[in-house]
Symmetry: C2
Subunit: 189 residues, 2 copies
Amino acid sequence: MIKRSEFIQVQQRAADMIRAAGVQLTAAEAARIDVVDFGLSRVAVEGVQVFTMFATERISAKVLVMLPHQTEPEHWHPPVGEDPGKEETIRVIAGTLNFYIPGVDTLRHGWVPPGKESCYSCRHEIVMKPCDQLTLRPGTKHWFQAPAEGAVFYSFSTCVRDGLDRFTDPAIVRQTQIIEDLELLAAKS
Amino acid sequence: MIKRSEFIQVQQRAADMIRAAGVQLTAAEAARIDVVDFGLSRVAVEGVQVFTMFATERISAKVLVMLPHQTEPEHWHPPVGEDPGKEETIRVIAGTLNFYIPGVDTLRHGWVPPGKESCYSCRHEIVMKPCDQLTLRPGTKHWFQAPAEGAVFYSFSTCVRDGLDRFTDPAIVRQTQIIEDLELLAAKS
């Protein structure tokens, strides 16, 4: 869970990073950037920020933001009915994105969040810079992380069904729970 | 058809407009921007420039450039086998894009290229500015045009099969033919 005040603060920071990367956003779009803590209640360590340009039954385009030193937990997109699972292409806009997929352990620039070794099985590292692209076949396990400068990148994909994503970390709950700040509520009443 | 020298000149101009709009391109990417004249041999009047970020069997992301006063001819994306046809979402990055779809005639800001009235049946005008989006259902006829400032915009879609697009103008050939400049060839030999 995340406090409303922190949610808004992180959302604003993500909007600033997206705009600094050269992508224009309306005020209404900035206000619907999603801040995801994966139910782990430490969004600055494990989390992601998502601006969904649009999502239909067939395709979706998003801009994702990783804060400096933030890690998105390992996950994959399983088959759903006749859909073989979400196919996703990443393209970096700004910053550096350390991306991890199955393969030979080449992890050098990034790190597994301390105490979470069992929840991050992929150790094949791809260091991505602006204009670098990567297409993930459906079902491929992956996680990613930003070093000190953070990262802004596109995620283009087939139909998004975030609620069905599978995570290696059993503690994860995909839906972020926002709790109202007691101080704010008190101030309102 | 288009001369190699003009192709390269328009390609460079499109790359400049894309970068000025805040989208980064590598030199290799700039060099594969497609300049499309639809076989009409007057690309500055009827044409489009296309940077394909990627295209898979399921999805594609492109950045399109319309030069000032350039018009993309009316077309639609027909069904192909079990595919109901290409679904496409447009999002403007820079400039102004006048977009035309079926509906009440509201054409006020744009114009039909002189002498081509029968080739542009859609007259319902949508004037699009940066951050404006539009999703086209498969099979929807459409054409678009940039006024004096030109336009740079995303086109996100399901599987691209440009060669199967249908055009209202019977004179159109989708594949652009590039002819080598005789002067350039002479200089090389």
